[in-house]
């Protein structure tokens, strides 16, 4: 069967009543959490994973993916109207979006944001469709050494790329990997760090930890200061951009798609980095760079397109290699594994219905999102007015039910609260949670592949350098670390010189 035939099969799968409903629920929840500052896609996906237990795997993945790319649409609404990003991926959109709203152009800003997201989302789905199968075929040659190096590369990239301290990120990744080792050893069945607890013998569950670190920790941070937010008062009669807006934003949208999709593929690239790249590129290419930040349409078109394109791009390594490039994809991998499916080189061959069904659902989901975010924008703005004090007890309620319903085990609630409080404390001390969760998901895979590699090589660690793909990945890790070190020294010297002046 050719790609077109598979795509038709995908649409056949996605167009069933259940899957259409799952897609709608996913994108609607995604938009909702994107609009509401204080809960992100990771926490939401973690809470909803137990609910997907009773669902068919395709419907579950369609819904969870919908939450992810739906959140990219919703995130810009608060950036434009409140100057507060609903999601971290919409930080850049505050710069010009809020300025446009102040000038009375909130409608076109929201409009171009939704249209850019739609174009970026749709085009990148085609990229995902074209790139994943050949990459999956290439990955068929991967043995344990290559897989180990790839996972190490992914964890290192997520830990390295970010504004915070590299040491703190690496501590979080090490801790995450340690937590993943609690329970019975995958190979020998030996019990590790269980304190003779039956709950811990099964290992520390991904859902309680993710809900704790991304749901509860977020709530605890937000309830410290519960301030009333003022929503920008504006009319939404004219959401459609003018002809001039179109003219100014079509090239940024196309460039944002390319930038977003390809950075999204890189482990650690995520959906935040592409928005900064896209904005930077537009500013550099612009004939009037001084106008960026004053409320111009290009400043919102490029980053909003890029984050949506990146959300599809980041699915490429997950589907083709089985390695999530960032924490949201790690949650999706967790969902796959809970449903007994391992994404990776054989995934497309063995589960073509799921792969193509999800791709087709993303096309449908993007159309749904366009409708949800253009004609129905008023609903989301009204939701924005719900005060946080009325909202946070409900978020806690959903967290509790989500975690408990997983295994009907109240001990997992204690685990959730423990990781929630720990996440809160670590967040206050600027320790990022993403490397922790990614390492936790990938830890067992990494250990198994490492031990298998050592058995194959009879204890010779040179196996990781003898194999070309593995060697290239390890060299890349080394280069990234060297670059970061050099950058740090340069920055420090610059600071000292400035201070001396």
């Amino acid at each position: 069967m050719d790609a077109l035939g598979y795509l038709l099969l995908g649409f056949n799968t996605a167009f069933t009543g259940t899957n259409l409903f799952a897609c709608f629920v996913g994108v609607a929840i995604g938009t909702l959490i994107g609009v509401l500052p204080g809960i992100g896609p990771v926490g939401t996906m973690a809470i909803l994973i137990p609910i997907t237990y009773t669902m068919d795997t395709t419907s579950a993945i369609i819904m969870l993916s919908g939450i992810y790319y739906g959140a990219q649409y919703g995130g810009s609404t608060t950036s434009i109207l409140l100057n507060i990003p609903g999601e971290t991926t919409a930080i850049v959109s505050c710069l010009d979006g809020y300025q446009m709203a102040k000038k009375g152009r909130a409608g076109p800003a929201l409009g171009i944001s939704a249209i850019g997201s739609f174009i970026g989302g749709m085009l990148s789905v085609f990229g995902l469709m074209l790139l994943t199968p050949p990459l999956g075929k290439l990955a068929l040659d991967f043995g344990p050494p290559e897989t180990f190096s790839l996972i190490l590369f992914g964890v290192m990239m997520v830990s390295s790329i970010g504004s915070g301290s590299l040491v703190k990120s690496l501590i979080m990744a090490t801790l995450g990997m340690f937590v993943s080792l609690i329970g019975l050893d995958n190979i020998s069945g030996f019990s590790r760090f269980t304190l003779r607890s039956l709950t811990l013998s099964d290992g520390v569950g991904l859902v309680p930890v993710a809900v704790g670190m991304f749901g509860i920790a977020e709530v605890l941070t937000n309830i410290e200061v519960m301030e009333k937010q003022e929503v920008f008062k504006t009319e939404f009669r004219n959401l459609f951009p003018t002809w001039r807006d179109w003219n100014d934003s079509i090239k940024p949208i196309l460039r944002g798609t390319v930038v977003g999709f390809f950075i999204g593929i890189i482990p650690g690239g995520g959906t935040i980095l592409p928005t900064f790249f896209a904005y930077g590129i537009e500013k550099r290419l612009s004939k009037h760079p001084e106008k960026f930040g004053t409320g111009i349409v290009e400043g919102i078109a490029a980053p909003e397109t890029a984050n949506n394109a990146a959300s599809s791009g980041s699915m490429v390594p997950l589907f083709a290699l089985g390695v999530p490039p960032h924490v949201v994809m790690a949650m999706l991998l967790g969902a796959f594994m809970i449903h007994g499916i391992q994404p990776g080189p054989l995934f497309i061959k063995e589960h073509s219905d799921i792969f193509w069904g999800v791709i087709a659902s993303m096309c449908i989901g993007n159309v749904m999102l366009l409708i949800l975010n253009l004609p129905l924008i008023g609903i989301w703005v009204k939701i924005l007015k719900i005060p946080y004090p009325s909202l946070f007890p409900l978020i806690i309620l959903f967290c509790l039910v989500g975690v408990f319903s997983l295994n009907n085990n109240a001990y997992e609630l204690f685990i959730m609260v423990f990781f929630g409080f720990m996440g809160y404390v670590l967040r206050k001390m600027e320790y990022p949670a993403a490397p922790f969760l990614l390492a936790m998901v990938l830890g067992p895979m990494m250990e198994t592949n490492f031990r298998q590699s050592m058995v194959i090589a009879q204890g010779d660690v040179a196996i990781f350098f003898d194999r070309p793909i593995s060697a290239v990945l390890l060299i890349l890790i080394f280069l990234v670390l060297i670059c970061l070190l050099v950058l740090k020294v340069v920055r420090k010297r610059g600071f000292v010189v400035k201070g001396a002046e």
């Binding site: 340690f178 080792l181 309830i223 410290e224 004090p389 509790l400 009907n408 109240a410």
Partner: protein
């Protein structure tokens, strides 16, 4: 915090040493945890070194205050305590009663609120979640001694 990481790394390393270590040809279940413990100790030491250097007058990376001026740590402690209590009471008290108590506690104690409003909010939350999860989504939830 650096000392916490060093101590945790040390604990993990010592604990891992009690597991079968295997050899290079076939690493056992104690191999990776031991490595991780050592890495944690190393990273903790780097942080400690940086902290000492900062105290000696390095202008970069001044320590940040744990809780901002207007912030209320009390709310955080109360919310955490409420969740722990809910986890402990879920089985004996049942889902509906536990959620009612938790919602009332969160709404009433964490923010200035009229008693009536808090009770109605808690009742609606408990009722709504029971209908949604128990009746619609068929999630098995504990009934407690009251049976609901």
């Amino acid at each position: 915090m650096a000392i916490v990481w060093i101590l945790l790394g040390l604990t993990i390393s010592i604990w891992s040493a009690t597991f079968p270590f295997g050899g290079r040809k076939a690493p056992g279940p104690g191999f990776l945890p031991l490595i991780l413990g050592l890495i944690l100790m190393l990273l903790g030491s780097i942080l400690l070194f940086k902290a000492i250097k900062r105290e000696e007058g390095d202008p970069i990376g001044a320590p940040i205050p744990f809780v901002s001026a207007q912030a209320s740590l009390t709310r955080v402690v109360l919310a955490t305590g409420g969740m722990l209590a809910a986890a402990a009471l879920l089985h004996p008290l049942g889902f509906f009663s536990t959620i009612f108590c938790l919602m009332f506690f969160l709404k009433y104690s964490l923010q200035p609120q009229r008693l009536k409003v808090a009770v109605i909010y808690a009742l609606l939350s408990a009722l709504g979640s029971s209908v949604l999860f128990r009746s619609l989504l068929k999630t098995p939830l504990p009934g407690g001694f009251l049976g609901f």
